[in-house]
Every structure is written in structure tokens, then in C-alpha cells.
């Protein structure tokens, strides 16, 4: 799972008001390089919750993102390549996602988070 997806995911348990962001407990992180597309990055930048994104990348062991970011940074190539790397090239292969409100743990194995809910957690 890439951080792109992590930044979109929220916990869906019944009664949870704010299930975002899920905390990452990384066990294994892999890197796969992909081509950079500046247009896509600029498009995604508006949708990304930056604070959660930085926290997630730190918990994956990547610390080169700035704490604060605004759209003026998008002209900098260096920033774009870091953003690209964190967003699309880091994969959480094994680990756990933790719901911020209930502490429910969603295991991640082979890069696939198991988001299935138990019957008593369904909406």
C-alpha cells in the first residue's frame, strides 16, 4: 500500500466520528520506483492532508518532507521529487494500521490492508 492510498483511507467502524488518519506501525517497507508525473502530483497536492502525510512518511522511515507545505513549493523540483517518492514509491508491505479513535488494528500483509469489519462494527 502506498501513502497515496493511506492518505485516502479512514476507519469505517460504527460510531467513529473521525477515523482519519490511521496510524501506521510499519514492519516492512519496500521501495519501487515509478515514473514521475508532475501534473498528477500537482493535482493530488490539493487533496492530500499534509500533516497526516508527513506523519505517515515518518513512520515509514522517510523524514525528508517539510512539516508545512503550500502550493508555492510545487515549482521546486526537489520538493516534487520528494513528494513523488513519498507518495508513490514507498510501499507498506507488512505492518498494522491503527484506528485513531478506537485503537482497532487493521493488519497489512503482502501490501494489502485487511479493512474487513466484524459484524458488531458494521454501520
Amino acid at each position: 500500500m502506498r501513502l497515496l492510498t493511506h492518505n485516502m483511507l479512514s476507519s469505517n467502524i460504527r460510531g467513529v466520528v473521525n477515523g482519519f488518519p490511521l496510524k501506521i506501525e510499519a514492519v516492512k517497507v519496500v521501495e519501487k520506483s515509478v515514473d514521475m508525473n508532475t501534473d498528477f502530483l500537482k493535482n493530488m497536492f490539493e487533496k492530500i492532508e499534509w500533516k497526516a502525510f508527513v506523519e505517515a512518511s515518518v513512520s515509514m522511515g522517510y523524514t525528508e518532507l517539510p512539516e508545512e507545505a503550500d502550493s508555492s513549493l510545487l515549482d521546486s523540483d526537489e520538493f516534487l521529487s520528494r513528494f513523488h517518492h513519498a507518495l508513490l514509491e514507498l510501499h507498506l508491505e507488512e505492518g498494522v494500521l491503527v484506528c485513531p479513535e478506537t485503537g482497532r488494528r487493521f493488519p497489512v500483509s503482502k501490501g494489502i490492508p485487511n479493512m474487513l469489519l466484524h459484524e458488531d462494527e458494521e454501520q
Binding site: M1, R2, L4, T5, N7, M8, L9, S10, S11, N12, G19, F20, V34, N37, D39, F40, N43, M44, K47, E49, L88, K110, G111, I112, P113, N114, M115, L116, L117, E119, E122, Q123
Partner: protein, 327 residues
């Protein structure tokens, strides 16, 4: 003792025995259960077992190694993407593939350069997707529990042959109406303004179609059904095209494909209905005085049975002989 009838009875008995043998085989070998699966698949997997159980390791592998299914899935997802009518600005989009399975449909999205998040309830299918190294991210998730995604972030959603599963109640806690509602409301929430969702579905009947559509409308979607090849029972494909936000659907809902567009129809349809001449006397049926299928046919059949290893009586001068008239 008359040989004829006696032989007949003997044959019948043999057949019975054989049937019994086969019956036992049925119960014992797993091969046969596979055969049953193939049959079931050809009709409707929804009726066999819940998706996470039906698409087990063997079924998932079979699904993904069949070139026929791969072709169908690819063409369906191409068409779904076409109906999604994403703005053609060359910017890759973030799409959702609901019921992505082994990622066959996602591959089409990747080819177009889009990023996608796929979700499916069958771990076996997702494992195959991992093996195939699909480019999208995968989630093990049940769409009937609602999508756990942030609001307003997805640029479009497709789903190939998956939504009809929601109409099933596979567990005592399942209520199709509630599951459809959870699915559509959460989908509506996570789609960006003006984004579309295209679902290729196989509804079993009108009621199911109505159920799905009304759930979508209740969630706030506008849209309708696009039917490709409406006159062909085999090629007929239904796409539910939904839009959220203020976009007017009237102009953007595309027309279904027909055979004519594909240049396959040669106007044969006009020829199918013809007046028949009522006054012409019925043709006399020529009586076939050749009864039975002949000695050659019997010998061929017996040879065939022998090759299969069955117990077959020897060929004698009595085999397939002509009966006396009195018989």
C-alpha cells in the same frame, strides 16, 4: 426364451450398474466437484456461495488464467472507462475499482496512466493480483460495509461484474437494502464533485435492477442504465452510469452500443418477421420407412463404448439384424 427382450433387460441392468458406479465416483473424487463449479460459474456464481468463499484459490487462479475471461474483462473495463468520460486533459486521475478481483480491470486503468485503488472481498483474488504485480493499491474490504475513504477525493469509480453481489444476503446479519445503502452513500461521499461511477452489472431480474438503482438514487446519485447490444442475449451488457454533484446527466449519458454500430448487423432483423401463407396445404410428411439407425451405426457406437472401456457384447451375426415383420 426369446433373445431380444432378454438382451434388452440385460442392457438396462448394465446401464443401471454403471450409473451407480458413476454415482459413487461423484461423491469420492474432487475432480467432479470442479466440474460442478465450472457449470455453476457458467450460470451465476452469486447463487453458489458468498464471494469470499466462491473465489477461493483454485477459482481465482482459473478466473485469471482463462483468456476468454481476460478478454471480456478488458473490453468491459475499457467500455466502463469510456463511459466514465474523464476530462481529456492528459492528467492521470485517482480512480476506484470496486470488486477489482485479480486486477484484470485495473490493468486497463493503468494502461491509460491512471492511478487506482482496488478493493475486493476475496483474499485469494487479491493474492493473484499481487502475484501479477498490478500497479494499483489493493484493499481487502467488503463494499457492503461502506467504503472507508475520505470525502471528495476520488475522480471516478468503476466496477466490473461486482455490484450484483450486494443483492445477496450471505449471512444472517446481511440485509441487501442496508448494504446497498451503505455502499452507495459512502461512494457518494468519497467521490469528487462531478465525478462519475460506472458499474457493469448482471442483475438477475428487473427487481434486482430496481433495487440497485433506487439505492443509488436515494444516496443522491443521478444517472441511468446504458445497455450495450440490447438485442443480443449473449453480448448484452448493462452499465449503470451514476454522477454525483450538479452535473446534468441528460447530456452526458452516452448511448448504448448496438450491433449496427459495430457493422455486424446486416439488416437481418427486418427479415425475421414474415407473413406465412396460410392457405398453402401442409406438406405431407414423408414417411421414413427406414426404421432404426442401421448396422453401421450400432457397430460404430459399440466400438466407441469399447474404446471407453465399457463392457460391450461381442459383434455377432445377430448384431443389428433386421427383425421379422411380426415383431
Amino acid at each position: 426364451m426369446k433373445p431380444g427382450p432378454c438382451k434388452r433387460i440385460g442392457l438396462a441392468r448394465q446401464k443401471k450398474k454403471k450409473r451407480k458406479k458413476i454415482g459413487i465416483l461423484f461423491a469420492a473424487t474432487p475432480l467432479v466437484s470442479l466440474g460442478f463449479r465450472v457449470f455453476a460459474m457458467a450460470s451465476r456464481p452469486e447463487r453458489v456461495a458468498p464471494p469470499e468463499i466462491f473465489y477461493d484459490d483454485t477459482e481465482a487462479r482459473k478466473y485469471t488464467s482463462s483468456s476468454r475471461i481476460i478478454d471480456i474483462q478488458a473490453s468491459l473495463s475499457e467500455r466502463a472507462l469510456e463511459l466514465l468520460a474523464l476530462p481529456e486533459d492528459g492528467v492521470p486521475k485517482l480512480l476506484l475499482d470496486i470488486g477489482c478481483g485479480s486486477g484484470l480491470s485495473g490493468e486497463t486503468l493503468s494502461e491509460e496512466g491512471h492511478h487506482w485503488i482496488g478493493l475486493d472481498i476475496s483474499p485469494s483474488m487479491l493474492n493473484i493480483a499481487v502475484e501479477r504485480e498490478v500497479e494499483g493499491d489493493l484493499l481487502l474490504s467488503d463494499m457492503g460495509q461502506g467504503l472507508g475513504l475520505r470525502p471528495g477525493i476520488i475522480d471516478g469509480a468503476i466496477s466490473i461484474s461486482a455490484v450484483q453481489w450486494l443483492c445477496n444476503a450471505d449471512r444472517s446479519s446481511h440485509n441487501p437494502r442496508l448494504r446497498l445503502k451503505a455502499f452507495f452513500t459512502s461512494l457518494y461521499r468519497c467521490l469528487a464533485n462531478g465525478a462519475k461511477a460506472v458499474f457493469q452489472v448482471y442483475p438477475e431480474n428487473d427487481d434486482q435492477r430496481e433495487l440497485i438503482l433506487s439505492a443509488a438514487m436515494h444516496a443522491g446519485f443521478a444517472g441511468g442504465i446504458v445497455v450495450d447490444f440490447p438485442h443480443s442475449s449473449k453480448k448484452r451488457k448493462e452499465f449503470i452510469v451514476l454522477a454525483c454533484g450538479q452535473q446534468s446527466m441528460g447530456a452526458s449519458l452516452s448511448k448504448g452500443k448496438t450491433e449496427d454500430e459495430m457493422g455486424l448487423s446486416d439488416g437481418r432483423e427486418d427479415q425475421t418477421v414474415r407473413f406465412s401463407d396460410r392457405h398453402r396445404p401442409l406438406k405431407k410428411q414423408r414417411k421414413n420407412d427406414k426404421s432404426g439407425k442401421g448396422k453401421d451405426w450400432i457397430l460404430r457406437k459399440k466400438e466407441q463404448m469399447r474404446r471407453r472401456g465399457n463392457d460391450v457384447p461381442l459383434d455377432t451375426k445377430y448384431t443389428g439384424r433386421k427383425r421379422k415383420g411380426r415383431f
